[in-house]
């Protein structure tokens, strides 16, 4: 990667999800030099794994297409995938950053023709679908993947599959000798946008995510609804692939709970309200949803979305923190036990499928630089952070709209730093 040019007027953006892409693009379209690094083989992050957005019920891939086109067209922006930041030293206006790039084993000659994918045999969990199905050892991460370039799973290196992949490629795109690379760059400002990950549902022991097959998380349910997903868009429950028509949504799964995540993850109420539409779209009046909640946080002008779902006779709202989930061993149905706090009635409710509206936690806990981090693990805005600015879900649990706002704002803060550098040097 000797051809990467970076100076203390360059902005480094860490994380290629919606926030990082936005921050990078906004700065680049301002005319600044930007390097965007992404840990995985393609950009898109969590948003790339969503089927629809609330409240418009539109597709994240639609905005992603535009952002990817912006990426492809912008000469000021350099994208480095499979790359992580391992060390940051220096100060505002003059950082030295060490990057580690994992081998993709596929070079720029790849045309994404798919011949290597056809040639290899071993299969692995498909990260894009939250491991709900398998992918090959030579794969394109998703249909929308940018860069549109295949990647070899490191596990096939040294196996016959690696040779098969190499032999299948007519374009000399497969390079089995690629090694991890370390690069050190100088940059003026850093935007940290490493986003979030779903809270580990297995830690919420009473809900039995690790024991009961038909208890899944909201992010997994998103993949099921997506025609690109593991079920081709059908809502089928894991235990027997039966149609999941009677679905329970449990709010604050891991959130607003001192034992798990102290904060409210903000998006989960709207996400479940949105997902009741998936149930209805799939099964019409036969599709029933029940939302178990503490407060419905359909905040600001999109509360009307909540009101509409509330008026839907196929959706029931139960104010209750579910105490425990057991499994009906006969049919695999989860049985939800708890107390409906509106009137204090005990219930034992059986559903086809339980979707845990899983909380957001920051995806990085061990930062390679000095920044102020709050108890919840999010980066706080602080003078002492110098020229490092957090964006999106590195700052708080945010919905996409707010994450994009945050990213746009962080881009300006980074521009201010490199403008100061340019001013003092010019």
């Amino acid at each position: 990667m000797a051809d990467i040019i970076a100076t203390n007027e360059t902005i480094l953006v860490v994380g290629g999800g919606i926030s990082g892409m936005t921050a990078a693009l906004e700065a680049a379209e301002f005319g600044k030099q930007v390097i965007l690094v992404e840990k995985t083989p393609s950009v898109g992050g969590r948003v790339g794994k969503l089927y629809k957005y609330f409240p418009k019920m539109c597709h994240p891939t639609c905005g992603m297409e535009i952002n990817q086109r912006r990426l492809k067209m912008n000469p000021n922006l350099r994208l480095l995938t499979m790359t992580e930041v391992s060390a940051v030293e220096g100060e505002e206006g003059n950082y030295s950053v060490t990057l580690k790039t994992a081998p993709r084993y596929v070079n720029e000659s790849c045309t994404a023709c798919g011949a290597c994918g056809t040639a290899v045999e071993a299969e692995f969990d498909n990260e894009h679908n939250y491991n709900l199905n398998k992918r090959k050892g030579a794969y394109l991460p998703s249909a929308m993947a940018h860069p549109q370039r295949y990647v070899l799973d490191p596990a096939i290196i040294g196996t016959p599959d690696a040779t098969k992949a190499k032999e299948a490629c007519k374009f000399g795109a497969i390079d089995l000798d690629m090694q991890e690379q370390e690069t050190t760059l100088t940059v003026g400002a850093i935007i940290w946008a490493t986003g979030w990950q779903p809270y580990d549902a297995a830690k919420i022991q009473p809900y039995g995510y690790d024991r009961i097959q038909n208890v899944i998380t909201s992010v997994e349910f998103e993949r099921m609804a997506d025609p690109h997903g593991p079920t081709g868009g059908k809502l089928l429950r894991p235990s027997d692939n039966a149609e999941a028509k009677n679905v329970a949504f449990i709010q604050c799964a891991g959130s607003r709970d001192r034992n798990h995540l102290k904060h409210c993850s903000r998006i989960c109420c709207m996400a479940s309200l949105k997902q009741t539409h998936y149930v209805e779209d799939a099964y019409g009046d036969d599709g029933k949803s029940t939302i178990y909640y503490i407060d419905i946080r359909a905040i600001d002008r999109i509360d009307d979305f909540h009101q509409k779902v509330k008026a839907n006779p196929n959706v029931t709202f139960t104010k209750s923190k579910v105490a425990r989930i057991d499994e009906n061993k006969g049919n695999g149905n989860p049985i939800l036990r708890g107390v409906d706090t509106e009137g204090y009635n005990r219930y034992d409710n059986e559903h086809d499928l339980v979707v845990l509206a899983i909380g957001m936690e920051p995806s990085v806990s061990d930062f390679p630089m000095k920044v102020v981090v709050n108890e919840n693990g999010y980066i706080e805005q602080a003078e002492s952070n110098g020229g490092i600015f957090a964006a999106g879900c590195s700052t708080d649990a945010l919905d996409v709209n707010r994450a994009v706002q945050s990213a746009t704002a962080s881009a300006l803060r980074a521009v201010q730093v490199v403008n100061r550098v340019a001013g003092s040097e010019g």
């Binding site: 539109c58 881009a411 300006l412």
Partner: protein, 738 residues
């Protein structure tokens, strides 16, 4: 461009193209049929050798128009990036070999498809010019900020910090807006456990000390005209003085006004004493300045009830049907005012859903609980005077009973109403200057389509793009703060920084003649042939961004820097005088005309598909990646937006013997997904009239279909093409074959 056009066509054999179609024949077609000056095939066009082959022709042979017949225009964009030439793409991979079976039977029609895409690509580029950039580009670094509240002050300070001068216009006599009338604000730093300084005084001090920021108090905008880079605004002071200043871009941060609580007599406002709004309580607290808050008649307050969602989140007449977002936390803040003074004061917040999101919200909620604030899930029906105090009647939802609570003070959490100015969609666009709605305009835009920024819903100037929250329909004017969407102070600050980013970015881009989002960087712009124009005004009315005014002779006046390059004006023009250098009636028209139409005896229909390049076209591409087949009779042409589709293309297609036409655009209506807002909707309206045209040609109406396609419609989009092929089989071929 004075240089002679010299077209090079390059046919790739890679990714199986060479195995499936006769590329040598395609080379011949490029030169013989389509008259390319140079045509070459290559084993692997996107590799270094292939790129070099093309670059050599550009450098040595004078090729300045390049038709690349390989993969989709969405693939290998970085590789096929040549400076100073016009480029078209023929989609032989995703558009031909991946959607057709590899059988002997299919070979002939697959080849025909590939041949046609070569003809199309060469003829498209033949009619393209490389965009030279707008001559209207003006670079003006000064930013106009309208509104001197927290959002506006933030915008001004941040712009100045970035090195851009600012004029800040505030209607009232002081800066600070709503926050200046508050005792304290919500906490903005961990541990988020107590009300905090609003920061207003510091911001005002920073602005006053900043020579880069010019403040206009007691002032409004009486006229705003121009375009990004060359906005001109009349800033009129109450005193009668008007100054005219020029700006590069505008941030509108005009905030909100309080909901009129006198519309809530059932909650005692205006009837019972000591029923106040949150804003009024903050004014009382500000007056007390840390001392005990007393009632208006000077009595001690020992109990306070906060009524959440007062006149909000309700469909009742006169209520706001949205949530103002900040009020739950504001009530906690205000309850803590009392608790900080005297922990024995009873504070009860009666709510339906407590909305304290994120880290700060939930921490602050816990701080309220820790300090003894009571939270009751209930539904307040009435507040009445009860002797010296008040009685709050409500249904306790948890205990499922009707009950009442006494209070010395009742605080109504009423909502925020955006100061968005005139709702131009309400007042209509027919005659400029005639507005009947009794709201003052904020910007007083001298635009053909109206005085203010179009509103999205409930009066807010939001964008409705989840991915692109700052995109207004008036280029170079960005909204932030509660005028855009209900929000609290901390969010307004963040929002203002973001809007400032977009505004300064637009100043830079307008200075270079480059388009703003979503075609950012595009140097093309619409031009029109004045002599052909009939002054029908369709372009000025239909432009989703209000970019086109009318000049004194009533000709359209394009404001290039306001244009987003969607081409809706080009689609609207009945006399086809509007075009872009790289996208015109000809660049598409010549593609469809150069498709080889077999005569009727061959029984090979032709289906023209005009597909939105952002959603429908990628959906077809991704279907192709899954090898989802569709009819070999289809010829797909991507369009910038369905709004750019000119009816002449349909008529031309029908006249030249196509058997069917499919238009694929984005979702329209309330939850529109069209990235040019109105393009898809306008196209659907235009197409509703196409039936007449078909009738006059004695053709069946089902030969033309218009669909809303999402990017995820990877199976549906190909299926719609196949449906059309079936329809044609049923109704027969078009009689217009020659």
């Amino acid at each position: 461009m004075a240089d002679e056009k010299k077209i090079g066509a390059y046919i790739c054999k890679g990714c199986g193209i060479g195995d499936r179609v006769d590329t040598a024949q395609m080379v011949q077609i490029a030169t013989r049929d389509a008259k390319a000056h140079v045509a070459k095939e290559h084993e692997f066009l996107c590799n270094a050798d292939g790129i070099k082959m093309i670059q050599d022709d550009i450098d040595n042979e004078g090729v300045n128009h390049v038709a690349i017949c390989a993969c989709s225009r969405r693939a290998k964009v970085e590789a096929f990036n040549f400076d100073n030439v016009a480029i078209s793409r023929g989609n032989i991979r995703e558009g031909v070999i991946w959607v057709r079976p590899d059988t002997d039977e299919a070979k002939e029609t697959t080849q025909e498809m590939a041949d046609d895409y070569v003809r199309m690509a060469v003829n498209e580029v033949k009619f393209m010019e490389r965009p030279q950039g707008s001559e209207e580009a003006v670079y003006n670094k000064t930013l106009l900020v309208v509104g001197g509240g927290v959002s506006g002050m933030t915008a001004a300070i941040e712009a100045s910090k970035t090195g851009y001068p600012v004029h800040l216009v505030e209607k009232s006599a002081v800066l600070g807006g709503a926050a200046a009338r508050m005792y304290k604000g919500l906490p903005m730093k961990a541990p988020y456990d107590a009300p905090a300084d609003t920061g207003v005084a510091d911001m005002i001090a920073a602005i006053e000390a900043d020579n880069n920021i010019t403040v206009h108090l007691n002032s409004t905008l009486t006229k705003t005209s121009g375009a990004p880079g060359r906005f001109s605004a009349d800033i009129s002071a109450e005193s009668g003085n008007t100054t005219t200043e020029n700006f590069g871009a505008i941030v509108q941060a005009t905030g909100y006004r309080e909901y009129d609580a006198s519309q809530l007599p059932e909650l005692g406002y205006g009837k019972a004493s000591n029923v106040v709004t949150q804003a009024e309580l903050d004014e009382m607290a500000l007056a007390a300045n840390g001392g005990a808050i007393k009632t208006k008649d000077g009595k001690d307050i020992n109990s306070v009830v906060f009524v959440q969602c007062a006149g909000q989140r309700s469909d009742k007449e006169g209520h706001l049907n949205y949530c103002s977002g900040h009020c739950c936390q504001t009530s906690i803040k205000q309850a803590l005012y009392f608790k900080e003074q005297n922990p024995d004061v009873d504070t009860n917040i009666i709510y339906s859903d407590l909305r304290t999101p994120g880290v700060s919200g939930e921490d602050f909620y816990r701080a309220g609980q820790k300090n003894g604030v009571t939270f009751t899930k209930g539904d307040v029906s009435q507040v009445v005077q009860d002797g010296d105090s008040l009685s709050v009647k409500f249904k306790d939802v948890i205990l499922d009973e009707d009950t009442a609570e006494k209070a010395d003070l009742v605080v109504l959490a009423t909502g925020m109403i955006p100061n968005g100015g005139v709702d131009i969609d309400e007042v209509g666009q027919d005659e400029p200057g005639q507005f009947t709605v009794n709201v003052d305009s904020i910007l007083n835009l001298d635009y053909r389509q109206g005085k203010d920024i179009p509103q999205l819903t409930k009066g807010f100037n939001d964008s409705h793009f989840i991915c692109f929250p700052y995109e207004t329909r008036r280029t170079g004017i960005y909204t932030c703060g509660p005028v855009r969407r209900p929000m609290d102070g901390a969010q307004a600050i963040e929002d203002a920084v973001g809007a400032t980013m977009k505004a300064l970015q637009e100043i830079e881009n307008a200075g270079k003649g480059r388009a703003a989002h979503p075609r950012s960087g595009d140097l093309s712009y619409p031009s029109f042939r004045r002599e052909g124009c009939t002054q029908c005004k369709r372009c000025t009315v239909e432009c989703p961004f209000g970019a086109i005014d009318e000049d004194e002779q009533r000709f359209p006046q394009f404001n290039e820097a306001r244009c987003r390059r969607c081409g809706t004006c080009m689609g609207a023009c009945p006399v086809r005088v509007i075009s872009f250098e790289n996208y015109s009636v000809d660049t598409v028209g010549q593609q469809l005309k150069n498709v080889d139409i077999p005569d009727e005896f061959e029984e090979k229909p032709r289906i023209l598909v005009l597909a939105c390049e952002n959603d429908a076209y990628p959906a077809l591409d991704m279907g192709a990646m899954n090898k989802t087949e569709y009819s070999a009779y289809a010829r797909v042409i991507p369009v910038r937006c369905l709004g750019s589709v000119n009816l002449i293309w349909i008529t031309d297609a029908m006249n030249s013997g196509y058997d069917g036409v499919i238009l694929m655009g984005c979702q329209k209506g309330e939850n529109y997904q069209c990235h040019f807002v109105k393009g898809s909707e306008i196209a659907h309206q235009r197409m509703s009239k196409v039936a007449d045209t078909l009738q006059s040609l004695a053709l069946e109406p089902e030969r033309v279909e218009t669909y809303e396609i999402a990017i995820t419609d990877i199976e549906r989009a190909p299926k719609l093409i196949n449906d059309m092929a079936e329809t044609i089989e049923k109704i027969g071929l078009s009689p217009f074959k020659f």
